[in-house]
Amino acid sequence: MPDPMTPLAVTAYTATSAIGHGLAAQFDALQAARSGLRPNDFSSAPLDCWIGRVAGVEDAPLPADLSVWECRNNRLAWLGLNQDGFLDRVRAARERYGAHRIALMLGTSTASIGETEAAYRRLDADGGFPDDMRRPAIHAPHSLAAFVTAALELEGPCLTISTACSSSAKVFANAERLIRLGLVDAAVVGGVDTLCDSVLFGFNALELVSPQPCRPFDATRNGISIGEAAGFALLERIDAAPAALRLLGYGEASDAHHMSTPHPDGLGAELALRDTLARAGIDADRVDYINLHGTASQKNDEVEAALVSRAFPARTRGSSTKGFTGHTLGAAGIIEATIALQAIEHGLIPGNLGGATPDSGCGPQFAWTNEQQRVDVALSNSFGFGGNNACLAFARAEFAA
């Protein structure tokens, strides 16, 4: 097990998803238990399901000097960056540390594949891409991070992490390592994924998409609702912002079991949890809230509920917020990290929306409806295809492990 780590300050964060643009809108929806899911009106061919679509992406073109990066995913990234004063916070960090001393670590599962799909829908007579689609930087999985590094004028390490649905949780680990080694002084982390045919029809082919709004941990759950989102956070050493919320720990582990189903005993998920608690220097009984991965797939929720039951005391609260946002895939890690941070900041445990008839495998830890209580330590679980597991731990500044 790793040694406890020196916590990092989360000096700014922001979230944009189907429940709104920015943190205030997100908190308002959580408090009102208002889902952002709606019937699918996105895919290029009809598909009977519900989606978490971000309003206004179509009406928010990139500024002229960034227009070479135009695509839905980068538009959503830009929309997200413009919330909660995040751009100003990054600018201030850039002035303080220098552009090459700030890392950019972003998660995405499909980046701007939607643009490549569009090119294939209207190939030339000779089978090639139409001229206006000849955009190599967009038809690449690094397009998101390449765009954001240009938009934020950063010159430090720049990496795309693409481990499916754990992508934008793992970015916190990448950033912490670079800061710990003194290679950078700060890091912008986050993730963006947008709706596209690849994921809608792909998860449909795996029979994992529900025709109804998703119902995480419900006894009658029948699949996921796919969403889109953008989220970002700025990480610095705690002496830069002693009163800020903190990244207390993180953990990563592999299931070594199956490409698209979790380990039946939640082995990788539990290893990631134990890794997180060790880095945070705490026992499980210090955890007040866990934002669960809770996708509403049969297997994920069964395995994760069992892990919560065996690893945490009854007083620890847990919920999935996929019923609000849908499963935002490569952006799920960062969006749910921001919800965990808001739980600490506002003392709100968001209820597990959609779980009207709780699965019998769920223990007393589940918060089925909103609860108000002080939260000192909050975790967030993110699990991806390929058996890729990550867990994050956040705490308020006054918390002492």
Partner: protein, 280 residues
């Protein structure tokens, strides 16, 4: 700031022309080399997985298997970083073509094989590895940025790390955008501590790029690098093959990794200097 010191215990390499690192050493020494069989053998994968695995997974597993075998370490003890500029371009082409014509006929297997971390998934399943695994990319900088990630993981957590960087050749029409016309993959086993299996030690400085990072590479290596982003690793692989030298690789658009190979004086007395041929 002082350089980062990292040690290399294993090296894997595969292209249509060279089947392993020993073949690169032979080529650079001016010897004739035989091309490998047209498909990477990827013997680390069990036969049923090998049949199901897409080409990108076979290539990554092939070079990973070579590097791990050379290191003598157990594969399940290695944290792994899989980097690739474009993932599986053949699957991307299939997915986009199918979505354009008959989206509801999309293959579920090809969809789950389309994730960027498919090689990491297949590899950890085949080797029973529960260590952290990741899948990354950074366009033309995928090797340099992946190397920085692997080094930082190895040094921050004092653990051995397997780095794989590979891209298969693209297919029309996508290949016109990716410019990736040849398969190329390589892998390194990197360790924070010197050991009796250390092949070379690297001193690595992360610093803004000043001037050009273009290295004089002998033919045909220049052409390979142009034809595959993962082959940006060649300046380092060539230095490792020669056993000395230095290079600068791009870790980001304006950030370089200046690497100095420390071959001499790092071999413990009891371990004779080993060549790749002896251990391959």
């Amino acid at each position: 700031m002082s350089p980062l010191r990292i040690h290399v215990e294993g090296i894997g390499l595969w292209s249509k022309q060279l089947g392993n690192f020993a073949a690169l050493q032979a080529l650079l020494a001016g010897h004739a080399t035989e091309p490998p069989s047209p498909k990477p053998a990827a013997t680390t994968l069990p036969p049923n997985e090998r049949r199901r695995a897409p080409e990108s997974v076979l290539l990554a597993a092939e070079v990973a298997g070579q590097a791990v075998a050379m290191s003598g370490r157990a594969a399940d003890s290695l944290t792994c970083v899989f980097s690739s500029s474009h993932g599986d371009q053949a699957i991307t082409d299939y997915m986009c073509a199918t979505l354009a014509s008959a989206p509801k006929e999309l293959s579920p297997i090809r969809f789950h094989n389309s994730v960027h971390n498919a090689p990491a998934g297949y590899w950890t399943i085949a080797t029973g590895c529960h260590e952290p695994s990741t899948a990354v990319c950074a366009q033309r900088m995928s090797f340099g940025a992946g190397l920085l990630e692997a080094i930082s993981h190895a040094l921050a957590d004092r653990c051995p790390v397997l780095l794989v960087c590979s891209d298969i050749a693209g297919v029309f029409p996508l290949v016109e955008e990716t410019g990736c016309t040849q398969s190329f993959g390589c892998a390194l086993v990197l360790t924070p501590e010197l050991s009796e299996n250390t092949l070379a030690s690297l001193d690595v400085m992360l610093a803004p790029i000043q001037g050009s990072t273009d290295h004089a590479l002998p033919e045909p290596l220049v052409g390979w690098r142009a034809a595959n982003a993962s082959a940006e690793a060649l300046p380092l692989l060539a230095a490792l093959a020669r056993g000395h030298g230095h290079c600068e690789l791009k870790a980001a658009a304006s950030l370089g990794l200046r690497i100095q190979l420390q071959a001499a004086a790092v071999q413990p007395d009891h371990a004779p200097s080993r060549t790749a041929e002896q251990v391959a």
